[in-house]
Symmetry: C2
Subunit: 379 residues, 2 copies
């Protein structure tokens, strides 16, 4: 392998694939990045076997030569140092040449780097995926759907299926659900392909966080290919492969109440600021418990207390209130997580007494739905 490539384009590709490099592994090859040079272009691949990312660098784009491949070939370079050094190379042109026993010489300006390369034959082969089930959705929407659900997955590895986000696609509605048994977040969006449908696909929350980082800011379409136990995301020149989580996701549809004894409509930011202040005090108690109470004048009161420090009490006006008076306690951190991702100025909150789930959704649309279990307290 022998090639010349522009530093910035090489660095961009490295940054993309580096998210799949195994950081804690006893298998040295997995801590590397594979480079393949062919007459078509240069391909970088990294894989920790759960996720694999491949980035393709074409030889040229409109009027600009990015890479010149003098001799095709492959090598695997240990990622840790390679990722750091490329962005600091002194010249915009980088020459890479692989010699005997994968010894790799990288030169740029007056800098010369000799790296011990590894045999590319040992590198894991990417899964072959049949492209029967393909959904295209805007990158922005995918990022939003991830952001609005992934925070609710559990970090507790004793229920591995709940560390993932459930995907369903039925009758043109694409839906994400996440729950850690104390709360639930769901987000749905219409997609234009009616002949694709799937259910019980669960993708690790960690993987989705990594994916969200490499979805480009520009509004591009992401193709999502669903195969037997793998999902492939196609983002322009970047391919992102992820395993699905094994197991059956619990049925959460039955725990969502359809009617409420108390209903509130109120300003999202006002509630968020108010709960944030009460949270600050509740945090000192480690419990994060905040109370919400309807008041006689048709508003609500938010409060929290700490035996050592004192008490915070907040009066809040609401846009609408319907139904019974209410007094309820909940984990304010869970509520703040929801209020952070709800993309609507006004929100609806439904209650069925102090012991039943709290439902929060935007007041003007039904694409998001959040559930929080109350904290069961007697006073």
């Amino acid at each position: 392998m022998k090639l010349t490539i522009l530093r910035n384009e090489l660095n961009d590709a490295i940054q993309h694939v580096s998210k799949a490099v195994a950081t804690r592994t006893t298998i040295p090859i997995l801590s590397g990045i594979k480079l393949d040079a062919s007459p078509a272009g240069v391909t970088l691949t990294a894989s920790d076997t759960d996720i694999s990312i491949q980035s393709f660098i074409p030889l040229e784009t409109s009027n600009k030569t990015i890479a010149t491949v003098i001799r095709s070939g492959s090598v695997v370079l240990t990622a840790k140092f390679f990722v750091e050094i490329v962005k600091k190379l002194p010249h915009e042109e980088v020459h890479i040449e692989v010699g005997d026993r994968f010894q790799t010489l990288i030169t740029s300006g007056a800098t010369e780097i000799q790296l011990v390369g590894l045999d590319p034959e040992e590198f894991p082969v990417l899964p072959t995926i049949q492209e029967d089930q393909v959904v295209s959705i805007p990158g922005d929407l995918l990022r939003d759907m991830i952001r609005q659900t992934v925070f609710a997955v559990t970090t507790n590895e004793s229920t591995p299926i709940l560390t993932g986000v459930l995907w369903n696609l039925q009758e043109g509605i694409y839906k994400f659900v996440a729950t850690d048994r104390h709360r639930l977040a769901s987000r749905s969006a219409p997609v234009e392909l009616y002949d694709v449908r799937f259910s019980n696909i669960v993708i690790s929350g960690k993987t989705l966080n990594e994916l969200a980082k490499i979805v480009p800011d520009q509004n591009v379409m992401v193709d999502i290919v669903v195969a037997e136990n793998q999902v492939l995301f196609k983002l322009g020149n970047v391919l992102f492969y992820s395993r699905m989580l094994d197991g059956t996701y619990p049925d959460t549809s039955k725990i969502i109440p359809q009617s409420f004894k108390t209903e509130l409509v109120l300003n999202t930011k006002a509630l968020s600021d108010s709960i944030d202040r009460a949270y600050l005090l509740s945090r000192e108690e480690k419990t994060n418990i905040v109370r919400l109470m309807t008041t006689d004048n048709g508003g609500i009161e938010i409060s929290s207390s700490s035996s050592e420090l004192g008490k915070v009490t907040e009066q809040l006006t609401v846009t609408e209130m319907r139904g019974e008076p209410l007094k309820i306690a909940f984990n304010s951190k869970y509520m703040l997580d929801v209020l952070k991702v709800i993309d609507s100025d006004e929100l609806f909150i439904g209650f069925n007494g102090a012991m039943s789930p709290i439902i929060i959704r935007p007041n003007d649309h039904e694409n998001s739905l959040h559930l929080i279990l109350p904290y069961r307290t007697t006073n």
Copy 2:
């Protein structure tokens, strides 16, 4: 105590003094901030007994009322929650009222906070300092002098005196020195007061880092008052008190060579970039060892190697080279620390062979001097 005060001005004062709040203490009063309201204004104080910071809020500045004191008095409030909540209060006006047993009521907009207050009589009394020895220096210069020396203090508590920066003021030259026995950083500057002189004053590096954070960005003068075992920094409405470290600082003047066998003059940024790349590889070996070698063509070569990863070699041209050929190894992290703070485009480096200290200073002035001991290696 009963007063009304503007949130932002209260918050600024809290941010200043909070740096002196004791974070790990078994004495509850030290984890608090003391508020004193008098007809002259409002004073906030925090102290961990090593450092104490006091910030004074006047009742008004040019045409603007900042605070109205309705009833004088004092209280101590636990810092942790107080620091967080004040910046998040909903209204720009904050009312504070202290009741029985120091119960404190803070109201702002529709937010009401009841805090358990502590008895201000238990709060440490600030040292009384005689203002005989006062030096005035520009805040920018003080911050530079700290930044250019403090990184070289030791973090090893077995030699407590070396965790501080040595100050000397002799014949109108104010000098800072720091060393951890492997390297030394010194910075001097002329000051205008010739009748003040002191020596062997050592201030903790941690304290100086905290001080640097509250020296304002605008070019204001800082008054430094040196007393028996305390130093007081006056920064406008903020007073910063620090204990001196006990003990005698070692005499470092004899280890600075006055002549060199090899001398280099070269571009600071070019050397810094080059060593940074070699450092990246040396870091993987945990040793940080980088080699510098003069070359036959009158330049230098910077290199490092890792048994597992490979080798980096850099060719560098220099502005001037005088004296004997040289081959030396050193800790690249120490060299990068120096190159980060040297405020000159070109620097001078003097050597006396592979086993003797390396001296680095700006090429165009002698206000800074850095020393690094070489790594003694045989190859």
